[in-house]
Amino acid sequence: MVKLRVLFENGSPERVIEFDRAKVPLQHDGKPGSFLDVLLGNGIHLEHACGGSCACTTCHVIVKQGFEQLSEAEENELDLLDKAPGLTMTSRLGCQAVIEKDGEYTVVVPKFTINQG
């Protein structure tokens, strides 16, 4: 099982999700088992202007716990992250970062995405 804690910089109350990785995808946008997939599948909004196809940065999340247990970022994701406002060493695109192991994870959804500054 995975326990995912989601924090929001915009002040929305934090959410905690527990789910079984064997049941992904939970919906149709982003890579199966990605943060985007899991959040949307649990009724939590995460912006994804490109539909979760790795063509924008609006699903940028900052991983506070579990970073090493995610799928490795591909070049396309890294190139896009370069343009994300508020980039950190543990930034990922929610549509691309797949939770590959059971355990505990924490992500922060930044207040601003590009074009929303």
């Binding site: 149709h28 202007a49 490109c50 539909g51 790795c54 940065t57 396309n76 190139d79 590009i114 074009n115």
Partner: protein
Amino acid sequence: MATRVHQVRILQVDEIAPATRVFRLERPPDFSFTPGQFVSCLLDVDGETLTKPYTITSDPETSGHLDICLNRVDGGRGSTRLFDMGAGASLNVTGPWGTFTMVTAPARECVFIGIDTGIAAIRPLLHRALAAPAAPVVLWQRAESPPHLLFRTELEALALRHPTFDYHAMTDTPLLETIDQRYVHADERRDREFFICGVGEIVAKLRDRLRAAGYERRAVHYERW
């Protein structure tokens, strides 16, 4: 910040190639964008809201409307839904979004590569580059067949009008090998800037080839659909 949703009318629909249409949308007031950006269409399909991005293929300077260009994808729920819509229908969109953009024409030689409907994203970038060309501009357009060379007449006219613009349209020629020959093996120059847009793995292959050949990472811009 909540994302603003614009409800816009479809003003006109033109089939510009087999299974490829340009949808002319009403432009919301105060909607500004940079060439290369896209809008996200929120499409209700089977009780779900799909988020589908489509590049704005018209120029920011064009007042009153936004054009998006797309082809019907077999089994694609978004394109199928849009193809069922005609002039007069309303559509919810958000945006503009995206970072595959050009604010001003690059000072160095600018090479555009538009593959299939990827030319729709290249088109406004090309217009921006040619508005005040600071260096030679080249476009390589690749499509599966001559009818799918979108905007070809317009592009040929641009090439006639701008002596510094070189336009190549191709259907049978292998694109990767052509780019490799022209920009990797033909000379030692690595001061060009590339803008690549298209569908599938060819985009990543072109990116990797050019970067591996010594072009700056940030001089190879791309958008893969």
